[in-house]
């Protein structure tokens, strides 16, 4: 055959073959998706600070451990209320003359997905503490510290944000204060901007595939009026997934940042109305503590799940209050809507 002996023909053949395939699976689909996807009407472009924060995010290689994509499978439901679609990324364009577009979808989850972190965790104080030393808020975390986003000063100047570090984690002189640098503030601004945007009215959300049997069985037990028993959702697990990052596993919170649940009046209150309200709507009434996001709404918690969390909180760490039923919670949740 000619091709065995003619290098020109061989080179042209494999180059053309490769280019045609490339056109079909890379350039073509890329151009098609680039041109046929508009940003969602509800989405907003990043502000100046948020854009600067995204650069900090890129520069420190956060994408190595944190993905920013909610796949259309049930497993990913914890990371967002709906699966990600191409339009979610349509606003992202080339970062700068030197740097390429950064959708930051990522390929690994050594840490949690951050698509919706702005909704899940809207407290500045939490983010600053977590960036300064992740083990202050999550003892088991293996995330690196980002000390270079902070500065130790004799006293805070005007415009400085002071970070209250618990004494046992203070690795600077106790008479000095820890303040956030511009980079740190920008990064947190960017993280808080990461929120899933609601699809325009009337457009149904794409569905999550691979529904799990476990969840189906939970739904089938909805009818029971009894207080959550062995068959209901695991309150301790839900607490760990949704509440523990701030209120801690011992329920004591963090001084100066997150209030304790242990011995809390609201938790021990026999009337569950306020507690359900806080879980579903968030809370920002006490100045000495950070803002609480609308955890329940963000995570799409069902009445059973909220009841399980509440009962876990009402019966742990020495708390001993009347347990609530899913029906009670459901009634309050309905009235909140």
């Amino acid at each position: 055959m000619e091709i065995f002996n003619n290098h020109k023909r061989l080179f042209i053949t494999f180059t053309v073959m490769f280019l045609i395939l490339t056109l079909g699976v890379a350039i073509g689909p890329a151009l098609n998706n680039q041109n046929n996807n508009e940003p969602l009407p509800n989405s907003k472009p990043l502000t100046k600070e948020e854009t600067a924060g995204k650069l900090v995010y890129i520069s420190n290689g956060c994408v190595g451990c944190h993905s920013q994509q909610v796949r259309n499978v049930e497993i990913d439901k914890v990371w967002g209320s709906r699966p990600g679609i191409a339009a979610d990324y349509a606003r992202i364009e080339r970062t700068s003359f030197l740097q390429n577009t950064a959708t930051l979808m990522g390929t690994e989850r050594t840490g949690p997905d951050l698509t919706n972190i702005g909704q899940r965790q809207s407290s500045d104080a939490w983010h600053y503490l977590h960036l300064y030393n992740p083990r202050i808020v999550i003892p088991q975390s293996i995330m690196p510290r980002y000390k270079w986003l902070f500065e130790v000063k004799d006293y805070p100047e005007e415009g400085d944000i002071k970070v209250e570090v618990p004494d046992e984690y203070k690795d600077f002189p106790k008479n000095k204060v820890l303040v956030v640098t511009k980079d740190g503030m920008d990064l947190v601004a960017y993280l808080k901007s990461l929120k899933q945007v609601k699809l325009p009215d009337g457009t149904p959300d794409p569905i999550f595939l691979y529904k799990q049997k476990q969840i189906a069985s939970n739904e089938s037990s909805n009818g029971s009026t009894e207080a959550p028993s062995q068959t209901g959702p695991d309150g301790a697990q839900l607490y760990a997934a949704n509440c523990q990052a701030c209120h801690q596993s011992n329920g004591e919170g963090l001084k100066g940042a997150f209030p304790p649940l242990k011995g809390s009046k609201i938790v021990l209150d026999d009337n569950p109305e306020i507690m359900v309200g806080i879980i579903m709507k968030g809370y920002d009434a006490r100045e000495e503590y950070g803002v609480m996001p609308a955890v329940g709404t963000n995570a799409n918690l069902t009445a059973e799940q909220v009841a399980a969390i509440m009962n876990h909180e009402k019966s742990s760490w020495g708390n001993n209050a009347r347990k609530v039923t899913a029906d009670e919670v459901k009634k309050i949740m309905d009235s909140l809507k």
Binding site: N37, V63, L98, N100, T101, R145
Partner: protein, 717 residues
């Protein structure tokens, strides 16, 4: 034999065929679409097959035993005098006069049983989620794990047969005892005259030297007298030295050495960084400097081991292989040096910029910004043109298959890099589509393609025989281009990328079984019949590991691409294990092998065999410690996510597996220091002086001086 093999291959693909069809669907499927066969049935079938083979085996044993007992009944022939040989006759005579008792030794039988029950247990543990075993990826992985188990059962059967043989021998001894007693008891039936006649007839012999004579042999070519022998104790297996080849241009040698030397330098830097990253998983607060933080060092590690170590190593070996298989010299040495310079420059700048926090964005392996990447591309393009010109000036008519693979790999990587750095199609999700294309094409059409080209040269060269099948190599070449180009998007299954594109990628991943299977068959059949050479060589074991991982690693890649397996393994540490199996087990092992295959030929110095052995075993065992815990941990992590447990649980769960990974990584790193030492030993000039060689060098100089003197005298006259 060959037809038989063809049938086997055909059957193999027939079995795999349903996979191609079903890879697009979500539900676990059966191999037999018309019957509803679940995994438990499948396992049951395997068990029935095993029982069938065991029955076959026991039947064979029964037949052998029966034959043995039949032969026992037929012992009368042993008792006739005519069948005795000379020695036996002598013994008989002596015995007749003396009558002594013979003594018997008792043999002790030892049975070594080799079994690995852990493998079986591991599967039981993983079965926490229902239905996980009915998914193709998982089944394929289990089969890959089962292969060594089944091999060990075969080994066990071989041992049992052997010990049965020993047992039969033992009973033969008993019958010998019986025969001797019979002879002793009936000694008078053998008559002396008869014995003597037989003895004389049998003991006829030519007188000594009646044919050869008494003169010492004439040995004009010193074939008998001049034998060199080595006298020292050998503590480990001696490997054969490579056959000396005609020397190649020392200038080319020096270029290749610089390529390989810088590759090994970057390997040491890159894997030290990798080891440090592995430690950070276990000890996250080991340092708090921004330049050494995890997010910045991770791309430094991947870029250095990918683009610096593997690329430079491949190009260095390519500068030897490309001209050699064309029976010519390299087109331009100068361009080779330019290429080396630009590639090294890009990695130096790239490493510094990444550590300083300046990178291109989120894309893996695309972290260098374009002003730095452009140096790398210039370096590759120079080598591409250089290789092309070398192939154009080849002295052979046909282009040897190695050069197909190597030159196409260079063309592809340049195209891939240009397309992936041009900004026109990279807004929004377009970036991710290009990213999938880029990261997988770089792996499959650059590293894998080039290394296959190297294999097609080195394996025949090491065995001194042609590759098993040239046509299989060509089939693999075109199918590799066809299928590999399609599969980039399988890194983004279930993401916002177009669903059809994901499906194409998954189908392409299954299609990859064709080039991988034909390549593996080709290489292993080249090994066949020459397995003894593997233990005699220090480069062939590396090649063997590379070929085996080529098979398992690539099949694992296909298994991972299915939607069902993506559910468990995607985003977990399983992917990290897979990338190390392929980039280290395949690419790096082939490069190690290539280095040990050609550097001693080029410099004339052998590496110390002990440290080559240390390099091999540390790298291989280290890789197991690295990958197996990560695969187990990655699966458990995925299952924990699937069960909806809090995310932090999966971090805590991975702790011990990350520790094992760090241990394996340390062994791999240590092995690279051995490689560095071996490379130094192969480069360093010989320190011991061969006295005789040196003396003759002096004499030769003297001779030349005399001759020139004579010549000048002549010219004067």
């Amino acid at each position: 034999m060959k037809r038989y093999l063809n049938f086997l291959i055909f059957g193999f693909f027939l079995v795999l065929f349903p996979l191609i069809g079903f890879s697009q669907t979500d539900k676990p499927n059966s191999f037999f679409p018309n019957f509803n066969i679940s995994t438990s049935d499948f396992i049951l079938i395997i068990i029935f097959l095993l029982i069938f083979f065991l029955l076959l085996f026991s039947f064979g044993i029964y037949k052998k035993t029966a034959a043995y007992f039949r032969s026992r009944k037929n012992q009368d022939a042993d008792k006739k005098l005519e069948n005795f040989d000379l020695k036996e006759l002598e013994t008989l005579k002596k015995l007749k006069s003396k009558l002594n008792n013979p003594s018997n030794k008792i043999q002790i039988l030892l049975l070594f049983l080799l079994l690995s029950p852990n493998l079986l247990l591991a599967q039981d543990e993983a079965a926490t989620r229902e239905g996980i075993f009915s998914e193709y990826g998982v089944i394929i992985t289990i089969i890959l794990i089962l292969i060594p188990l089944i091999l060990s059962i075969v080994y066990l059967i071989v041992r049992i047969r052997k010990s049965l043989k020993t047992y039969f021998n033992k009973s033969d001894q008993i019958s010998a005892q019986e025969l001797s007693t019979y002879i002793k008891d009936n000694i008078d039936t053998f008559k002396d005259e008869e014995i003597d006649v037989l003895k004389e007839a049998l003991s006829f012999e030519l007188p000594e030297n009646s044919i050869s004579g008494h003169l010492s042999p004439k040995d004009p070519h010193k074939l008998i007298t001049n034998i060199s022998t080595e006298h020292y104790l050998s503590f480990f297996a001696r490997k054969r030295n490579p056959i000396k080849r005609p020397k190649i241009d020392p200038k080319l040698t020096s270029l290749i050495m610089w390529f390989l030397g810088s590759a090994i330098f970057w390997l040491l830097v890159g894997t030290t960084v990798g080891e440090y990253l592995g430690i950070k998983f276990v000890a996250p607060e080991i340092d708090n400097f921004s330049w050494l933080s995890f997010g910045r060092l991770r791309p430094v590690h991947t870029n250095l081991v990918f683009w610096a170590w593997a690329s430079l190593g491949m190009l260095g070996l390519g500068y030897y292989v490309v001209p050699t298989v064309g029976n010519t010299s390299i087109a331009s040495l100068k361009h080779g040096w330019y290429s080396l310079f630009f590639i090294n420059l890009s990695h130096l700048l790239g490493t510094l910029s990444l550590m300083a926090g300046y990178n291109n964005g989120g894309g893996e392996y695309r972290e260098y910004v374009w002003p730095i990447m452009i140096f790398f591309m210039i370096g590759l393009s120079i080598s591409m043109v250089n290789y092309y010109n070398t192939i154009a000036m080849r002295k052979t008519k046909e282009i040897y298959i190695s050069n197909w693979y190597i030159s196409s790999a260079l063309v592809f990587i340049v195209i891939i890099a240009v397309i992936s750095y041009l900004p026109f199609w990279q807004d929004g999700i377009g970036e991710t589509i290009i990213q999938g294309y880029y990261m997988h094409q770089a792996v499959g059409l650059w590293f894998m393609m080039f290394c296959l080209g190297l294999l097609y040269y080195f394996l025949p060269q090491q065995f001194n025989k042609p590759i098993y099948s040239y046509s299989l190599g060509i089939l693999a070449f075109w199918t590799q281009i066809l299928f590999y180009t399609l599969i980039g998007t399988h890194h983004f299954v279930f993401s916002a990328l177009p669903w059809w594109l994901q499906t194409v990628a998954i189908v392409g991943s299954v299609g990859m079984l064709i080039p991988v299977t034909s390549g593996t068959i080709n290489f292993l059949m080249t090994f066949k019949g020459d397995w003894t050479k593997v233990s005699n060589s220090y480069s062939l074991p590396f090649f063997l590991v590379g070929v085996i991982y080529y098979f398992t690693g690539s099949y694992q890649g296909t298994a991972e691409a299915f939607r069902s397996t993506n559910l468990i393994w995607h985003f977990s540490d399983f992917t990290i294990a897979h990338s190390h199996i392929t980039m280290y087990g395949i690419i790096s092992f082939i490069l190690f092998a290539g280095i040990y295959a050609i550097v001693p030929r080029l410099t004339g110095n052998e590496p110390p065999q002990l440290t080559v052995g240390a390099h091999f075993w540390l790298a291989l065992v280290g890789l197991q410690f690295y990958t197996i815990p990560l695969m187990i941990g990655g699966t458990l992590k995925g299952l924990s996510w699937a069960e909806g447990k809090p995310f932090i649980d999966s971090v805590v769960l991975m702790g011990p597996y990350w520790l094992w990974r760090a241990i394996g990584g340390s062994m791999m790193l240590l092995s690279h220091f051995f490689l560095g030492y071996n490379f130094y030993k192969m480069l360093a000039k010989k320190e011991t002086i061969d006295v005789r060689e040196r003396a003759f060098n002096i004499l030769e100089k003297h001779l030349i001086a005399l001759e020139t003197e004579e010549n000048s005298k002549n010219s004067v006259q």
